[in-house]
């Protein structure tokens, strides 16, 4: 039976020259009609490839079928069986390399817009006040402490609370969400949505203690005296710099600082809010990932006239999501590819005023399989800038390893944890998310959180670990 071919549905969005001046979310999301039309593109495969592509194994055909049938609330509930934060993942997951890349519809046509449908169902449920709190298991009398209120910590907290445990989150900042709140900008992930998802976790009975920097306020060892198990979900919050001359000039920011001032501290509303950020005309953002795109687009919205992304490889190697690069270019961000900064130039008062760069070309592939950029001799040039945002990556904050007895880390400072159970070298202490695997994605942090919560539950209840999978028996030699 030949099917009528329906194209992949686009989400309506704000026009580029309007949105570059405001912090409101860029896409408006599917209408129910668009969502149902998109849902009807799914083949509802018996052995769905998409599910295997999703790190938390959402029953994708099941939730899409509910949308197709018009049961949007049911679709949201289906999503929440496996993913406590669907409104967030539907927005920020790199769907094009996870669930959608393996979708069979994508072989001959474009894949089903799984992420957009996920977002639609979650938004529908929230906007219509249909969110319900699942039944919790009877209280176990066990207590768990979670360090860090990012997606990893929130997932562990939610899962453990549902299993009947008493859960407390300790968060260093004055707000929840981790990168979701301080890093990813409002125009890509509205903070009201993050707050709603956090509220859901709180309604499950989870307590959040803010302004508690573990390692200083209390140590992990002190927490161990008070709790039956501990999860460390402290993220990759340590900004890297380029280590080139001039990096400490005024006007040079790490992406973390630039985005934190704008998102968490609301510097874009200065002086109504007290935290300032520099007023820029010409901004250079160093790096080619999502963080760089977010910084560049934030710079436009803070009033910059010209924003350049400086990236040392070519467009093909850019780690940012295609959609984000596309959005940034539409808004007027200029990509300076195969270009590397060598020095930042300052004025008398210590302000950055220029940048020396060198052109690069791609040489032989390196260990990562990507062609290594090499400088082209004699190709140096200078550009004028008054603000530079360094977004070349983040590492692990050493505070907790430094203040915790017997917690092993690898050579990059990441906490070592088992890839099945998330247990660390310290019995009863688990870790997951960016602090273990390095700066990655929201959904991987949540996936780790789910695994950890299961293992923590077994540990606290004295349930033996299940037999390890036969094929990877080496790493699972625990109790």
């Amino acid at each position: 039976m030949p099917r009528e071919k329906i194209p992949r549905q686009q989400m309506p969005e704000q026009e580029a020259d309007v949105r570059r001046h405001n912090f409101k979310e860029v896409p408006f999301g599917f209408t129910p009609e668009l969502a149902q039309r998109e849902a009807s593109r799914c083949l509802f495969c018996k052995k769905p490839k998409c599910v295997a592509g999703c790190p938390v194994n959402i029953d994708i055909p099941a939730f899409i079928r509910l949308i197709k049938e018009g049961d949007f609330d049911g679709a949201a509930k289906k999503l929440k069986e496996e993913n406590a934060l669907p409104a967030i993942c539907g927005r920020v997951c790199p769907q094009e390399e996870q669930c959608e890349i393996v979708c069979v519809t994508g072989i001959k046509d474009e894949p089903v817009a799984i992420g957009r449908l996920e977002r639609f169902a979650a938004d529908y449920e929230r906007d219509n006040n249909l969110v319900t709190i699942p039944k919790k298991a009877p209280a176990t009398g066990k207590k768990a402490a979670i360090v860090g209120c990012g997606p990893a910590g929130l997932t562990v907290a939610g899962e453990l609370a549902k299993l009947g445990h008493d859960v407390t989150i300790y968060e260093a900042l004055h707000q929840p969400g981790g990168v979701l709140m301080y890093g990813i900008p409002e125009f890509r992930l509205p903070k009201a949505i993050v707050n709603a998802e956090v509220d859901y976790v709180k309604k499950l009975g989870v307590e959040i203690i803010y302004n508690a920097v573990i390692g200083r306020y209390l140590t992990v060892d002190e927490l161990q005296g008070q709790y039956d198990s501990i999860f460390l979900g402290t993220g990759a919050g340590l900004p890297y710099f380029m280590n080139i001359p001039g990096e400490n000039l005024n006007g040079v920011y790490s992406a973390n600082e630039y985005l934190t001032r704008s998102n968490l501290m609301r510097a874009y509303l200065f002086p109504e809010y007290d935290t300032p950020v520099v007023q820029s005309k010409k901004v250079a953002v160093l790096g080619g990932g999502n963080v760089a795109m977010d910084s560049a687009r934030t710079a436009l919205r803070l009033g910059a006239e010209e924003v350049n992304i400086i990236y040392r490889r070519s467009r093909k190697e850019m780690p940012a999501r295609i959609e984000e690069v596309h959005h940034a270019e539409e808004e007027g961000v200029v990509m300076q590819l195969l270009t590397n900064p060598t020095e930042l130039l300052g004025d008398e008062e210590g302000w950055v005023k220029g940048m020396r760069c060198i052109r690069m070309e791609l040489g032989e592939p390196d260990a990562s399989g990507r062609r290594r950029p090499v400088p082209i001799e004699g190709s140096e040039f200078e550009i004028e800038v008054d603000t530079v945002v360094v977004s070349i990556g983040n590492g692990a904050n050493p505070l907790i390893p430094q203040t915790t007895e017997g917690l092993d880390t690898n050579k990059w400072g990441n906490i070592i944890a088992d890839d099945q159970t998330c247990v660390t070298s310290k019995p009863g202490v688990y870790a997951g998310g960016d602090i273990v695997i390095g700066a990655a994605t929201v959904i991987l942090a949540m996936g780790a959180g789910k695994q950890a919560s299961q293992a923590m539950h077994r540990y606290m209840m004295g349930i033996p670990e299940p037999e390890p999978e036969p094929k990877d028996d080496k790493k699972d030699d625990k109790k």
Binding site: N211, N248, Y253, R266, E349
Partner: protein, 281 residues
């Protein structure tokens, strides 16, 4: 939480607050600080823990009103609360028995110097304190510094009290008198710390300074607080706040402290305008 249980005006524009914060009172050490946010729209303001009382569960903050946020906080009264108090942050002071230690505090720097002097005295050092201010009315914590040291000297820029001159002049005369100094701690405005380090360098006296760059999170996440020490970039909130003063690039520090002057002026003027006039004791 974070309730102000005691407020005192120490001198023109310098306020002392005792704040309920039992866990921080328990876990803090000399040299550490907190970050305070007055209200929902407030900036994150770092302040040294000048003292703590574990039994009462309180910490003491002493600050100078220099801009909008400190003025707003200064207008708070007993019974009010700060929205957020995070801490203790930073590395504790390295304390051991060095022998004779000179603790110099200039202006508001006397407050952060106080717990360090206490700790060094506790560790068995002979503590000589030198505290200074522009004039007599601006001098703070005289009694407490006296209690935290074995010997105390005072200087004022205008000669209205103690030695006429700077704290460095007092240190110079101690050295001239043959005092053997094993360690110097200098805390105050950057020019004062810079001058102190220049002097102690001549006599090879190891010198610790406590730096106060602009901060945001205070946990090592943003890099706003970076300074150059010994040619390397360090984050003051996690690698400090105390550093070897002979290695600090003070010129860069001063420039970085001035990064938001126009915005700070705007915020202050708007605040003072809203408050009618400059009066908030």
């Amino acid at each position: 939480m974070n309730k102000i249980v005691m407020k005192k005006v120490l001198s023109e524009g310098v306020k002392e607050f005792e704040i309920e914060s039992p866990q921080i009172a328990k876990s803090r050490h000399a040299g550490q600080f907190v970050i305070v946010r007055a209200n929902e729209k407030g900036e994150r303001i770092p302040l040294t823990i000048a003292d703590a009382n574990v039994e009462k569960g309180t910490i003491t903050l002493i600050f100078q009103e220099v801009g909008k946020s400190t003025m707003l906080m200064g207008s708070f009264n007993e019974g009010d609360s700060f929205l957020d108090v995070v801490g203790p942050l930073g590395k504790p002071t390295h304390t051991e028995n060095f022998g004779t230690v000179v603790c110099m505090g200039g202006g508001i720097g006397v407050a952060p110097m106080h717990p360090i002097a206490q700790a060094l005295k506790q560790a068995g050092n002979r503590v000589i304190a030198i505290i200074g201010a522009r004039s007599k009315e601006l001098l703070i914590m005289e009694d407490r510094i006296k209690a935290a040291s074995h010997e105390m000297h005072i200087s004022t820029d205008d000669g209205s009290f103690g030695v006429h001159g700077f704290v460095t002049d007092v240190l110079q005369s101690l050295i001239d008198k043959g005092e053997k100094v094993d360690l110097c701690v200098a805390i105050g405005p950057v020019p004062m710390m810079n001058a102190s380090c220049k002097l102690t360098k001549q006599y090879d006296i190891p010198t610790v300074v406590s730096l106060n760059p602009i901060m945001v999170d205070g946990t090592g996440m943003c890099g706003a607080c970076r300074v150059t020490v010994g040619g390397k970039t360090r984050f003051v909130c996690v690698d400090g706040p105390e550093f070897n003063g002979h290695e600090v690039d003070f010129v860069e520090l001063v420039k970085r402290q001035r990064a938001y002057l126009p915005q700070e002026r705007e915020a202050r003027e708007q605040y003072q305008h809203e408050c009618g006039h400059h009066n908030h004791h």
